[in-house]
């Protein structure tokens, strides 16, 4: 839930409760006051009747006039009688309709005879008044609520704008990117503080990242020279004299290890380069042609493994760096060969939308979520576990999608363009 929504909801509910509550109190108080006033009027009327009886020794004329109605009837003095106010409906003769009224019933002694006197006054006026007051209050309430909501929406949105801005910048923040986080200054202290903190943090993180990167980069480069020395010394060593078979094997093992080490080093450098977006020129690549060329390059390897290669290539052009395109196809294809078995199959399918390379291989499905991680490899693999990480980086760089699936004993890597 958004902060503004949450806030709106709380204020809305609170104001509705408060308005209902105060509305009820307001209504009852006004109602009480008006009823009180009517009662007083009724009491005055009663007094007037009593005064009339005292002076004239008889009841005034019963009847209805001016929103007021007076009636008498004789009652049994033995009967206990109570003076009370009550609400009722009565027939207003001047208006010719039944109207709500307020009545006072009391007793009066006229020359030894006990009469019950009922004085009724119309409540219409006071009810109307209450209704109008209620209506006005309600409309004010509604207008107020709407205003409140609108203010919340527009003012809050406006106030929170810097927050969303910094949020979007943080979302777009990329370590490898060159541009830093920049936010428009705001007048609100909290956001200014937040901006400053985020900017400082991003700078620090970038600085650390740069240092780490340059460390990896330098370390890898520095390693290349000793590797070159080892290699050249080995090359020189094998020229010196004839070796015994076992010595020859030892030297070959060293060669293989040095070769692996330098390949590993180069892969790490390549990863860093792609991550840092230090890739040079792009050009139009005929992917189908490139794949054909690569399959030719791998032909001897395929033959020696007796792997059956089937291709289905439609014409597809991509705009990317030649070397990276090369490397991508190389990695995927050599994986398909490396993790195959003798007499296995490889199927390459290329169309406008995707490139699929599927191969027969071990019956164990790779873990799709880990397969593109660096140095992830299954126990049987002799590779370094960097090939797919690099392939994935290359795909990311050009916004392709690389994924892995396993179906019907076939491992498939798919690049969606």
């Amino acid at each position: 839930m958004k902060l503004a929504t949450k806030y709106n909801r709380v204020t809305l509910i609170a104001s509705i409760i408060v308005f209902i509550f105060t509305g009820v109190i307001y209504y009852s108080v006004i109602h009480y006051i008006l009823t009180n006033k009517l009662d007083r009027d009724l009491a005055i009327e009663e007094d007037e009747i009593a005064a009339y009886v005292k002076t004239n020794g008889k009841l005034p004329q019963a009847g209805s006039f001016k929103e007021q109605k007076v009636s008498y009837y004789l009652i049994d003095p033995a009967h206990d009688f109570e003076r009370k106010y009550f609400n009722n409906d009565y027939f207003n003769e001047s208006e010719q309709k039944i109207e709500p009224g307020r009545s006072l019933i009391s007793t009066i002694d006229v020359n030894g005879e006990l009469y019950s006197v009922t004085v009724t006054k119309s409540r219409v006026e006071s009810e109307d008044l209450v209704r109008i007051i209620l209506l006005i209050t309600l409309s004010i309430t509604i207008v107020l609520l709407i205003t409140l909501l609108l203010i919340n929406r527009f003012v809050l949105n406006n106030i929170w704008k810097p927050f969303y801005e910094i949020l979007s910048q943080m979302k777009a923040f990329n370590l490898a990117d060159k541009n830093d986080i920049y936010i428009e200054p705001t007048k609100i202290d909290e956001f200014t503080e937040l901006n400053a903190a985020v900017a400082a943090m991003s700078l620090r993180v970038k600085q650390d990242y740069r240092e780490l990167k340059s460390f990896t980069d330098n370390a890898s480069h520095e390693m290349m020279t000793p590797l070159a020395v080892i290699n050249s010394k080995l090359d020189t060593l094998i020229q010196t004299e004839t070796f015994s078979d076992s010595q020859g094997e030892l030297i070959e093992d060293i060669y293989v290890a040095v070769g692996k080490l330098s390949r590993l080093n180069q892969s790490l450098l390549m990863l860093a380069k792609i991550e840092n977006n230090l890739i040079g020129d792009q050009e139009t690549i005929d992917l189908d042609e490139l794949i054909r060329q690569k399959t030719r390059q791998f032909q001897e390897l395929l033959q020696s493994q007796e792997i059956n290669l089937k291709t289905d290539l439609a014409n597809k052009q991509l705009n990317m760096n030649k070397h990276l395109a090369d490397m991508l196809i190389n990695n995927l294809l050599s994986n398909a060969i490396r993790h195959n078995y003798k007499g296995g199959e490889i199927y390459i399918h290329l169309n406008e939308k995707e490139l699929r390379i599927s191969n027969t291989g071990s019956d164990d499905e790779l873990i799709a979520s880990k397969v593109f991680e660096r140095f992830y490899k299954n126990a049987a693999s002799e590779g370094m576990g960097l090939g797919l990480a690099i392939s994935n980086q290359i795909c990311n760089l050009y916004h392709f999608k690389l994924n892995y699936t396993y179906q019907d004993t076939r491992h498939t890597f798919k690049v969606s363009f």
Binding site: Q239, D245, S262, S304
Partner: protein, 225 residues
């Protein structure tokens, strides 16, 4: 051929010199920017092997100087920087080739030989080794008068062997030369053997002496007998 090696790493320098200095090759060295510039200004070389990271200056500057003073020397850049940009930059500035450290000395020799062959002899593209004649323009091989039909890989292999004659060449060097260093073939050296066997058979059938010698475990040697 006359070669200038500009490289600050002394042990690497030694190995390269040892590998190159025989069969009448002259190999001079420069260890820093200043001495390199001096030598380039005074002498002419068939090929200059240039390391890009040098004390006292950028190797790329040396390349610019060579081009500025209009030297026709071949230039091969050897660098630990496997940067695509470096590579392009170097080739754009007029380097003839680019080799990334670490490399096999046999690969270096083959590349240098190729550069020197392209640069000198003024259009003569024939490599001769005893009865073997290779026309690099037409990519054809003749043993005496017999024309030999070789596959592309066999042809490359033969040229590579002759460039590195009398040297032991490792299987991994051969694999990298023929299939490129992007492919890790270290588990599949057996099919290199097939190629060498085929080449050897074709050469012998065409009346060539058996120059290719297998050095168990280590590799192969193409040697005059």
């Amino acid at each position: 051929m006359k070669i200038l090696l500009i490289e600050d790493e002394s042990s690497l320098r030694e190995s390269i010199i040892t590998y190159f200095t025989d069969e009448g090759n002259i190999c001079e060295t420069a260890v820093d920017y200043k001495s390199a510039i001096e030598k380039i200004n005074i002498y002419n070389y068939d090929c200059i092997l240039l390391d890009l990271t040098l004390p006292g200056g950028d190797g790329m500057e040396i390349l610019r100087t060579i081009k500025k003073i209009n030297k026709k020397d071949g230039v091969l850049i050897i660098s630990a920087r496997h940067s695509l940009d470096d590579k392009l930059d170097g080739l754009n500035l007029g380097a003839d080739d680019y080799l990334v450290k670490p490399f096999h000395l046999s690969e270096l020799k083959a590349r240098v030989t190729a550069i020197v062959r392209r640069k000198s002899y003024d259009g003569s593209n024939v490599i001769t080794f005893n009865e073997i004649q290779i026309d690099t323009q037409a990519m054809s091989v003749k043993i005496g008068d017999n024309v030999l039909t070789l596959t592309r890989k066999e042809y490359d292999l033969l040229v590579y062997f002759i460039a590195n004659q009398s040297k032991v060449i490792t299987k991994s060097a051969i694999a990298e030369h023929l299939w490129g260093d992007e492919i890790d073939l270290s588990d599949h050296f057996d099919f290199i053997y097939t190629h060498i066997k085929n080449l050897r058979k074709k050469l012998i059938e065409a009346g060539c002496k058996d120059y290719i010698k297998s050095m168990y475990g280590v590799g192969y040697k193409f040697e005059n007998i």
